[in-house]
């Protein structure tokens, strides 16, 4: 499976970066323990590197044995109720970045209204009125429940 080799490769790269940083952990000024702050991270990093390398090799091996034969993957995609659209994912993440950036300055209610409206309109433009009502009611209800009933403070932003 190609997916496994990709995942293994990403994991391996991560573990190498992690190991490099683990080696740079400074030694404590006074040695108070038998085991220093570097030992544990180094052990994790080495195990991580070995495990992801194993996955990479396994993926490559399976990919080469599958070659020439029929690839079952496209058929599988059809069946999957959660078949993914990379464009949609990208747009949602971009909207979420905007939401996170404006969360404090605009305040919870306004930023959440904008985010919910944008996401629901983008994904489902047929229910305009439902989306609008939901985008107004949902943040207000949550705001009331959290600040009044649960005593959790939320940013008031431009409405404060």
């Amino acid at each position: 499976m190609r997916a496994d080799s990709v995942a293994g490769g990403v994991g391996f790269a991560f573990s190498l970066a992690y190991l490099m940083m683990a080696l740079q952990i400074p030694s404590p000024s006074v040695s108070v323990t038998a085991v220093g702050p570097r030992t544990f991270p180094l052990a994790i990093g080495v195990a991580f590197a070995l495990a992801s390398l194993a996955l990479l090799v396994k993926g490559l091996r399976e990919a080469s044995s599958e070659e020439g034969g029929e690839t079952a993957e496209p058929v599988e995609e059809e069946d999957d109720a959660l078949a993914q659209s990379p464009t949609r994912l990208g747009v949602i993440i971009a909207l979420l970045v905007g939401y996170v950036l404006l969360f404090v300055s605009l305040g919870y209610v306004v930023s959440t209204f904008l985010f919910v409206l944008a996401v629901t309109m983008y994904l489902d433009s047929r229910h305009r009125i439902r989306n609008l009502v939901y985008a107004i009611v949902f943040p207000l209800v949550v705001y009331f429940v959290f600040t009044q009933l649960l005593q959790v403070q939320l940013p008031t932003g431009i409405l404060g």
Binding site: D4, A34, P41, I44, A81, D124, V142, Q153, L154
Partner: protein, 503 residues
């Protein structure tokens, strides 16, 4: 025995106050709701409720959050039966026969047997917890750092080798959890590790934040970015049939109830494996013992009664290692452990001496909560089924905003929100590439504890690694760890055979 009842009495005194009854009710109610909603489970709900539970006293907070945990097991069967999508991992096998029963117009009977089995198991496992935990705690008092370290290694190796799918991927997920657990100031030497000079990272990553990102956000991403959102829920079956089980249904369910309770509890007690595996084992056992195994997969009531009983018994069992050793066996109990720590409490054998009221109050609330759940789930099942009509896009958009809200209220910083976003994306890709997420959370929570125990053990033994083999208790645990490396292969082979039988 007299002691037991007087302790339990003290617990009920606490659990029966109007306030705590209210929290137990809210807990099981939220548990049922998140159990029903596919992709949102107990762990998400607990993570989102943690900021709020800061403001409660420990007894109320833990009664509430435990209620969410065992309550979610009831709700998840509803989704498994009506939509063939597990509401939570514990109900994966219920989709096999539960959905078939619903297709044959017996949805209500399937839901009823799931609720009754859950109630029997919930009560049985609470009795088990109550009797086994204090006994185990009195043994655990002799454990030193070496034993604790090895027990945590045991928990992690179990979760890696026994979770669904590829053990190698589960191992990588565990190591990822351990790796991100090392971010922050080293508590023993005050050296900053992996902080990139960012002061926000000095305290390490918040467990609840990571859990919200990996579970709630990634699930919301994969539902919202689906080409056809809500496609899974479109195959919903109608609520048909009667809630009253026939004499035949009772006769066929009695055995699964009994076996599921015992099996589920025992499996739940073992560190690293939770309710999900308990339900698989129960299904396999029922199929093997059945006089008509050919009915399995075609709406056999035993295939619902057994697993649903076992997964609920598993939650009670999973509380045992948490209460006696302070070592969580699953991602959800790991989060509960972090709540204890947040309150400044250290669960473990000493807690039965220092703070027994709290533990007994939680146990008492579990009896009460299970009664509430039975009442909530039998007559009101129509209400929960209606939750499945919530359209996917508004639902998961709401989940995203609640995740942001939850992360923000943990630390009141914008940095936390970016961390949430980054980890959410990581979680999304882990899920897409079939890496289990639960071992990552367990690794994160156990990592810090493991490192601390390892260094303590080494300090005591003057850096002599052989001390792990020289102590009889730790040697025993070490042998068990080795057995775990062999045993799961047998279980896997067993499971594969039952799987092939279904197809």
């Amino acid at each position: 025995m007299g002691d037991l009842f007087s302790n339990l009495g003290t617990g009920f005194d606490q659990a029966l106050t109007l306030q705590n009854l209210g929290y137990a009710f809210v807990g099981v109610l939220i548990g049922t709701i998140v159990g029903v909603l596919p992709g949102i489970g107990a762990i998400t709900a607990i993570a989102l409720l943690i900021p709020f539970s800061f403001g409660l006293d420990p007894i109320s907070g833990l009664i509430l959050l435990s209620g969410v945990y065992y309550g979610s097991m009831y709700g998840s069967s509803t989704t498994a039966i009506l939509v063939r999508t597990p509401g939570d991992v514990g109900s994966i096998v219920t989709t096999l026969d539960g959905y078939e029963m619903a297709k044959r117009g017996r949805a209500r009977q399937a839901l009823a047997t799931a609720a009754i089995g859950s109630f029997i198991a919930g009560t049985f496992s609470t009795v088990g917890l109550m009797t086994l935990a204090p006994a185990l705690a009195s043994v655990a008092i002799y454990f030193g750092s070496a034993e604790y370290f090895l027990l945590m290694v045991l928990a992690l190796s179990m979760v890696s080798s026994l979770s669904q799918g590829s053990p190698l991927k589960a191992l990588i997920a565990t190591l990822f959890g351990l790796a991100i657990g090392t971010v922050g100031t080293d508590p023993q030497t005050s050296v900053a590790r992996f902080t990139f000079g960012n002061p926000n990272l000095l305290d390490g990553l918040d467990f609840a934040l990571v859990a919200i990102a990996l579970f709630a956000l990634s699930e919301a991403f994969s539902n919202l970015a689906a080409k056809r959102p809500g496609a899974a829920a479109a195959e919903r079956q109608q609520l048909q049939g009667s809630l009253w089980l026939t004499r035949e249904d009772w006769r066929r369910s009695a055995g699964p109830y009994g076996r599921g309770s015992v099996l589920g509890f025992l499996i739940g007690v073992m560190p690293g494996i939770g309710p999900a595996l308990a339900s698989f084992v129960s299904y396999a056992v029922e199929k093997r013992l059945s006089k008509h195994p050919e009915e399995f997969g075609k709406g056999a009531i035993e295939g619902v009664s057994g697993p649903e009983t076992a997964n609920n018994a598993g939650t009670g069992g999973a509380m045992v290692p948490l209460f006696t050793l302070g070592i969580p066996g699953s991602a959800t109990t790991a989060l509960l452990l972090s709540v204890f720590i947040m309150y400044g409490l250290q669960p473990g054998p000493q807690m039965w001496e220092t703070n027994p009221t709290l533990l007994w109050a939680i146990i008492a609330s579990m009896y009460i909560g299970n009664v509430m759940l039975l009442v909530l789930n039998l007559p009101l099942v129509g209400v929960w089924a209606a939750l499945l009509k919530i359209p996917a896009i508004p639902l998961y958009t709401g989940v995203v905003t609640l995740s942001v809200l939850g992360a923000y209220s943990l630390t009141y910083s914008q940095f936390a929100l970016f961390l949430l976003l980054g980890l959410g994306i990581v979680g999304y890709f882990m899920q897409r590439y079939d890496f289990p997420l639960a071992p990552a959370v367990l690794g994160l929570v156990l990592g810090a504890l493991m490192e601390q125990r390892f260094r303590e053990a080494m300090l005591v033994a003057d850096g002599n690694v052989a001390s792990f083999v020289e102590r009889p208790l730790s040697l025993t645990i070490l042998i068990v760890v080795f057995l775990v490396a062999v045993l799961p292969r047998l279980v896997l082979a067993f499971r594969k055979r039952t799987h092939q039988g279904n197809q």
